[in-house]
């Protein structure tokens, strides 16, 4: 996987606007449609929000690194932190019908990440480095050049 773009922010939700713009710009340049790029942006926002809330437990001065790598058809965003480990793939996918019938608020973030992206991978060294990889493949149906 080549071509890496990197951004590092401090762990505050008011820095996520900068991340969203960074990812949107890269996804559009890579060739995704605006709609598809918005899905990637939202998945990355959810991953960063999880880091802020769970890995860093709302500490505002920790570091989150966002790396974007791609090859011809694969676009990957890595969200890297040094906080408490959390594997989103171990989170049970909620039964949405049941979940919503009880009007529960939480649990939608991981669901969204996994639904909006083609693949979500997780690598971690406990206490040292956690990495969530959000992967999306460019296809004729989600590219800006479709039609």
């Amino acid at each position: 996987m080549a071509k890496t773009l990197t951004k590092t922010i401090q762990s505050r939700t008011d820095n996520l606007l900068e991340v969203r713009e960074f990812v949107m710009h890269a996804a559009r340049r890579f060739g995704f449609s605006e709609e598809e790029s918005s899905k990637i942006v939202l998945a990355v926002d959810e991953a960063c929000t999880n880091v802020i809330k769970h890995a860093y437990q709302n500490a505002p001065d920790r570091s989150i690194q966002i790396d974007i790598t791609h090859d011809r058809e694969t676009f990957q965003v890595s969200v890297i932190d040094e906080g408490k480990s959390f594997n989103p793939n171990s989170a049970k996918m909620p039964d949405l019908k049941q979940h919503l019938s009880t009007f529960r608020r939480g649990g939608l973030g991981v669901y969204l990440m996994r639904t909006l992206m083609d693949k979500v991978e997780y690598n971690y060294s406990p206490g040292k480095r956690n990495e969530v990889r959000l992967i999306k493949y460019l296809t004729p149906s989600n590219s800006a050049a479709r039609g």
Binding site: F103, L108, L112
Partner: protein
């Protein structure tokens, strides 16, 4: 997020603007809803037409708002969700929980 409330034909219209991301925004909306309910205003339309971005915390905030209003015996409906936000409501199946109207007038008229 900015929040503006007005009364239209006996229905309370809450206009949300900007980025809807839960957190402190959820508290402002919740406070506003409690004031409205105490004042006997329980028919509510949330106008999403000027919302630029919404994440799962923002969706959670709307679920919380719906619960608060329903528990008070009222109704809360959504209006003018952009294509992007509507697709988010579809993906999360929230479209089956909320009543959504394309136009604010339609949403207000639906209370009659």
């Amino acid at each position: 997020m900015r929040l503006k409330t007005k009364d239209v034909k006996g229905v309370t219209l809450i206009e949300l603007k900007g980025n809807v991301m839960g957190g402190p925004d959820a508290s402002s909306l919740n406070e506003e809803l409690h004031k409205l309910i105490e004042g006997g205003k329980k028919n509510i339309v949330v106008d999403l037409g000027d919302v630029k971005f919404m994440n799962s915390s923002g969706l959670g905030m709307l679920i919380g708002a719906l619960t608060t209003v329903r528990n008070a015996g009222g109704q809360l409906k959504l209006a003018r969700a952009s294509e992007k936000i509507e697709s988010l409501l579809i993906v999360t199946k929230l479209i089956t929980v909320f009543e959504h109207h394309e136009k604010v007038d339609e949403a207000i008229g639906s209370f009659k």
